[in-house]
């Protein structure tokens, strides 16, 4: 028995090896290399000098680091709750037994299959002043003010969160939808017999049943939001000024525009720790509640 398992393992090796080699080379090795770099004054052309914790000290005193970290956090605060609530509402709509069911599901999920550059350019065309769709639409209804959706700090945030919502909410909706369909029908049937209203059914059956998947979505959403970068870079470039520049863009600028890779690695580790702590808090609270659900 044991021998058979062993030979099975040996046979698995050639299949696993190609991926394993690439994974080690491009994921595991860089993680440790990054940690090493964060302790060096490391330019892109080998010009290294061990500086100990200097990069970390610099990071704590760097206002640009804090402001871009705040921007990322602001994005998370704005996008996470809206994303979850909207996904839930859409999932409930897509779960109703109407003829439009298939259309709802397709329409909500469709943007998710587009790449980030595509949605960014659609967003720019949609939101640009004078000729953009949204402003022309508003003009049609007699609102003559010219809105600068991408150039005013507050509106730029609204635009970015809105675009991200439109782009990625479909994925969360699918997760909610799958969970909705897993709720056994007999719960609703017995509720009907008890004369429960639609709201009561939602409040006491649907909602509690969705809490586990809700947690998963919350965790995924926070992690994804903290990694926000590409759509902001493409839509506003972090502007106006630096009002929408997320942390990852700042890391990119430090590393590949100022060629200060050591400092970029340091900030990447800061982001890593933030994500690690958030994940731990979530996993902890999840395991605490395990018995209840």
């Amino acid at each position: 028995m044991k021998g058979k398992a062993m030979s099975g393992n040996v046979k698995a090796i050639p299949f696993l090896l190609p991926f394993f080699i690439i994974y080690v080379m491009f994921t595991v090795y860089p993680i440790f290399k990054g940690l090493q770099m964060s302790f060096y004054d490391w330019s892109i052309i080998q010009k290294m000098e061990f500086v100990g914790l200097e990069n970390y000290i610099k990071m704590f005193q760097d206002p640009d680091f804090w402001s871009s970290l705040w921007n990322t956090t602001l994005f998370t605060i704005l996008s996470t709750p809206t994303m979850i609530i909207l996904a839930l509402v859409l999932a409930l709509m897509a779960n109703t037994k109407t003829k439009l069911r298939g259309f709802y599901r397709g329409a909500y999920f469709l943007p998710s299959i587009l790449s980030v550059s595509v949605i960014s350019y659609i967003a720019i065309f949609f939101l640009q002043p004078y000729t953009g769709f949204l402003n022309s639409f508003l003009h049609m209804f007699g609102i003559q003010k010219e809105f600068f959706w991408l150039a005013e700090p507050t509106l730029a945030w609204v635009s970015i969160v809105g675009v991200t919502l439109w782009w990625t909410v479909g994925f969360n909706m699918i997760l909610f939808l799958a969970a909705l369909q897993d709720i056994p029908d007999f719960l609703y049937e017995s509720a009907d017999i008890d004369g429960a209203t639609a709201w009561q059914k939602f409040r006491y059956i649907t909602f509690p049943q969705l809490i586990p998947i809700g947690r998963v979505i919350l965790l995924l959403q926070i992690l994804a939001s903290y990694k926000v970068f590409a759509q902001i870079l493409l839509i506003t470039g972090g502007g106006p000024g630096t009002t929408t520049r997320p942390l990852i863009q700042y890391i990119y600028q430090a590393g590949f525009e100022k060629f200060n890779l050591g400092y970029a690695a340091t900030m990447s580790y800061a982001l890593f720790f933030i994500l690690l702590i958030l994940s731990l808090i979530q996993l902890k609270s999840q395991s605490d509640d395990q018995g209840v659900i």
């Binding site: 090896l17 190609p18 004054d41 892109i44 010009k47 953009g132 106006p240 000024g241 630096t242 525009e257």
Partner: protein
Amino acid sequence: MKKKSCSMVLLLLLLVFISGCSNLAMSSTDSDKIKLDYWTLFGGGDAEFMKEIVQKFNNTHPDIHVNYIQLPFDDYYTKLVTGIAAGKAPDVAVSHISRLPQLIELGVVSSLNPDAQKQGLQWDKFNQNILDASVINGKHYAIPIDTHPIAFYYNKEYLRKAGLLNDQGKPIIEETPEGFVNFLNKLKKELPQDIAPFSFATTGIDPYRLWWSFYHQLGADGVLSDDLSSVDLEMDKAVKAANYMKDLYYKHKVIPLHITDFYRTFQSGKAATLITGVWSTGIWEGTDDLEFGVVPVPAIFGEKAVFGNSHTLFLPKNENVDKEKRKAAFTFASFVAENGQIWAEAGHIPAKQTVYEKEAFQELPYRSQYVQIADHVAFQKPSVANGTIETILTRNLDTVLNGSKSAEKAFKTAEQEIKELLQNSLLTPDE
């Protein structure tokens, strides 16, 4: 047992495949030609004309083959530096004159003095103003091929309609701050409402270039001290230039706010004037029904200074230099500078003055209108931090022009940021 050997064969195959990969990359086709890799950052019309030069070179030099490799402009320098760091350096590469000091500091550029002497390149045939900006610590590191300043473009039809075009087809502008505003105001009054007097971006690199021009017209000299060690931003002039620009948007309302693509506004006949780089000349020429003219940016604040940069060719450092290859690379770089008349078709001003006398150059329209700008281009001082300084100034000017900060505050921030940048150990020369 059979299965085991099967997996062994698979494993072997895999190993062969992996080792095969590296062999593939090494092999090359047999040929006696010297092969040169040439990296550029050009796009659009620029790329076409540069390809034409490369082709001409390949046709006239049977023993050399230049391989034209075009990289995306946005992360060209990132790719260039990482490429050289990874030992994949090209034989010839393009760099903006403002970026040379950083590349030299990173140790990737080799001096051209010995090559020029050996191959008899005469530096005095180049425009002195451009050449000066390419000489660092008394050494030649690159061959400048052009300068590309910004210039003032106008739609002749609209200017004529507004009575602002003289007999030579030039705009009638009194070159004072008020004169320029009056000119634009008159356009606004005389033209239909949906025609913008002046098409221009509100944020980004273009306003920065105009600001840089006004700042130098006011008599300033860069933003760094002459020894490059400290920031020397002339606050009054910086603020004055920025506020003047801000008024064009908000007070006089002659530039529509936040145009997404201000080239297109001008190109489609929705604007009377625009200021941008001379590289756009080729674009306007290729546009049907656009009757345009071009003159240097009006020197409204006195001095004739204007923003400009320059493309140069340099030879990346290579540990094991092949003498023949190096010689061929230098020959190619000189050839590109010498054939500036082809390059000028894209709109640029050739750096080599002997080009101006060529018939092919003189036959080109418009270019002769702005060749003289080459003497007045205000280049950045040769600091390693030029790229980032430009980013800092652009970002802070953005906050003035979008109305979120006062010019005084924005340039105080910029000054502080540049100061911190210069203290960054990686960007300052070794003490």
